[in-house]
């Protein structure tokens, strides 16, 4: 079966996120004074063939650990749906 997968890569909690901090400092200039804790990550969309959603998830989690994210500074969240 073909599955649609969304991988959300975000900066690990406790690791400084210069992009997020810069955006956070810019928001008040536009009047958005209530925003805080801005973090910038990335989203990767892909499709995989697997026997089940669980298999697809574990396959992509393996990709995340070895390539798509850097576990030293990033966390990855994998979402799977039937394609």
């Amino acid at each position: 079966m073909r599955f649609e997968v969304k991988v959300e890569v975000s900066p690990r909690e406790g690791i400084a996120n210069p992009e997020g901090s810069t955006i956070e400092r810019a928001l008040p200039a536009l009047g958005f004074v209530t925003a805080g804790n801005v973090r910038v990550g990335k989203v990767i969309h892909l499709q995989v063939d697997a026997d089940s959603a669980a298999d697809a998830k574990s396959l992509v989690e393996d990709m995340c650990n070895r390539f798509l994210s850097n576990p030293v500074i990033e966390d990855a969240l994998v979402e799977v749906r039937e394609g």
Binding site: I15, A16, P18, E19, T22, F67, L68, N70, V72, I73
Partner: protein
């Protein structure tokens, strides 16, 4: 016999010829090694120079770690061969897990290109043969992602094992503990963000990189 240094070129590398010139000017031999080859051609040392290997897609160094030459560099390093990663080369070495930690975007979100003062903290590595701890060098940086990060455990280990090789005097990029360069436990693999090859002639504004490259040539 002079030392032969292999200078690795990935698609997007742009400092290989500066590095080759610096090595030649100091009496060494240099050979550019293509990332897609797996042979290191019997070189005595390897430099992974600066640039944007594989366009820095996904993360700096993330795709480079899968290039065929990296497997050979990994074995070479494990056997004690001297390996120096400069700038993007440092990023490649962290992604390839030859050095711990990671390099992320500069704290000020600015691309930085400037002369920096750095202190030689530890000389127990392949770059330190002509130096003593505490030497202050002027070497330029040229990067957007030079902000070194690692876990508190790794930082403790680096400090305890005397593996912080260089620290910035005026931290330009937010690196943890002002780190500008580190080495592996054996001291044969060094990664640094400043560019020693660009500090090898008075015309370039500094000759302080000379001792580092000379040290590599006798490593």
């Amino acid at each position: 016999m002079s030392c032969r240094v292999g200078v690795v070129r990935f698609p997007g590398t742009n400092c290989e010829f500066d590095t080759v010139d610096a090595i030649h000017s100091l009496g060494g031999e240099a050979e550019v090694l293509w990332h897609g080859d797996s042979s290191l051609k019997n070189v005595d040392a390897v430099v992974i120079p600066g640039g944007f290997a594989h366009g820095d897609y996904l993360r700096c160094g993330a795709i480079a770690k899968f290039s065929p030459i990296m497997e050979s560099i990994n074995s070479f390093a494990k056997e004690g061969g001297p390996v120096l990663g400069i700038c993007n080369g440092f990023q490649v070495l962290t992604e390839a897990e030859l050095l711990p930690g990671a390099l992320q975007k500069n704290a000020g979100m600015k691309f930085l290109c400037s002369m920096q003062r750095i202190d030689f903290v530890s000389t127990s590595n392949v770059l330190g043969r002509h130096a003593k701890a505490g030497d202050r060098l002027r070497i330029p940086i040229n990067h957007f992602e030079g902000n070194y990060v690692c876990s508190p455990e790794v930082l403790n280990q680096l400090e305890e094992e005397n593996r912080v090789v260089f620290r910035y005097v005026d931290n330009p990029n937010g690196s943890i503990a002002d780190i500008a360069g580190i080495c592996n436990a054996e001291g044969n693999v060094v990664g640094m963000m400043p560019h020693p090859e660009r500090a090898t002639s008075p015309l370039l504004g500094s000759t302080d990189g000379t001792t580092l490259i000379q040290s590599l040539l006798i490593a």
